[in-house]
Amino acid sequence: MRRVYVCGIGATPIGEHWELSLRDLMVLAAKKALEDSTLTKRDIEAVYIGNMSSGILQGQEHLGSLFATWFGIPGVSAQKCEAACASGGVAFHQAFLAVASGMYDVVVAMGVEKMSDGNTYDVTSALIMADDQEYVAFTGSSFVGLNALIYRRYMEKFNVKHEDIAMFAVHDHKYAVNNPLAQYRKAVTLETVLNSPIVADPLRLFECAPIGDGAAAVILCSEEVAKKYKSDRLVEVIASSVATDILSLHNRKDIVTLNATKLAMNKALKMSKIDLKDIDIVELHDAFTILGVIHLEDMGFAEKGKGWMLVKDGEIEKDGKIPTNLMGGLKARGHPVGATGIYEVIDVVTQLRGEGGRNQVDDAEIGLAQNVGGVGGTVTINLFRRL
């Protein structure tokens, strides 16, 4: 396998972009990433687009050709990749493989979701398609509801208080303040989080990632192309892994562990030949507060049932043991579903380049991005190292 580098990043701010369409978002993100890379459109050989719900929410599929047409690069290899909320992560993985295999030298990994045109009921219908339509969506559970089942079980099993898990939302908002791409650049108190309306008991509105629009793109290149850059512009992809788990919670023996995170993590550590303790920064997929806590455990940073303590003890802060979600996480940076995996990569690369501004972690060398589809049916782990 060849070495693979990230040589360009670009994204739209996340928000309710009433003036921008699905295709506008893709074109804007790709343009920014290409400018950042200093490459030209003609250099692009393949495009992988992460997207979950363009069909049901926009009446639009065939995003590969749509993007190639509107970006003015018809002829290239281009396709949509879907794995629910992990669509961005699997698109990145495909782009990585395309360069690592020797097939292409310059590839775009992109993610896009246009959600704000739909009403909340319809978006809720679209999101539960991440689980089993016949035996889970049929019951009327929302996607939030499935995570609420995990949440209640977790609190009961490990005797953890609601407020100790809800803290994760406060953490995300604190860091989103300094991220120009974030949907909610405003700090919130724990009281605000705990007093917000219930979406699916016990999950409160301020514990759930918001609905938003956005597109993000990164340019991946081979070593040969990478040679022309100064090293401070380059970040190496040292591992890229994808793992799946049994789709629905009722067929899993343990619902407070996402086994796919463990599997993907093991694969990624083996591939990169690094240890867990070498990781300096983490972007994890906290679509709901409880998931942030569980991911810290499943990735190995905390014992099962104790992930919340890392949050409480300040260990996921900028100067903590394992700085996490330093650009606002899913709760406050935002979660345009299929784009999230790519936003996470951008957040990690930004830190490794030392461009994190007021949120910059001192001397960050190795970063991790975790992207989760459904209730852990798919998990991708990507690891990066600055040169």
Partner: protein, 136 residues
Amino acid sequence: MNTFINSVPRSWRERKYKYRLIGGICKKCNATFYPYRGSCPYCGSDDIEEVNLPKKGRLISYTIIYSPPSEFRLKQPYIVGLIELEDGTRIIAQITDVDVNEVKDGIEVEAVFRRYREQGADGIIEYGIKFRPISD
């Protein structure tokens, strides 16, 4: 929005496992699961037999849905639970015949046949299994 499920053949096709608690039992690793399928999700064996699952169980976890998908609009709030049947097999279903303020983890429940959703104003009604508390 729900055009993807507005299908009579689809409801007809799915009726067997939605109307009755028929699971699968793996002849290789002995696991049971709902619904039946031809391959074991745990060990991958294709040697699976249908099994009638117990109708009683215990509520492992639950949620109360206040912001539902469009097909369940105006039915909120309602309870969705994760139920462990007497033989250990688990299923996700609505919990019925109990007030949202009175539902509790660990309560004993039994299966009942109930209405789930309608395929629009003119479409057919979809039925399935819900669980209700067993009164002592």
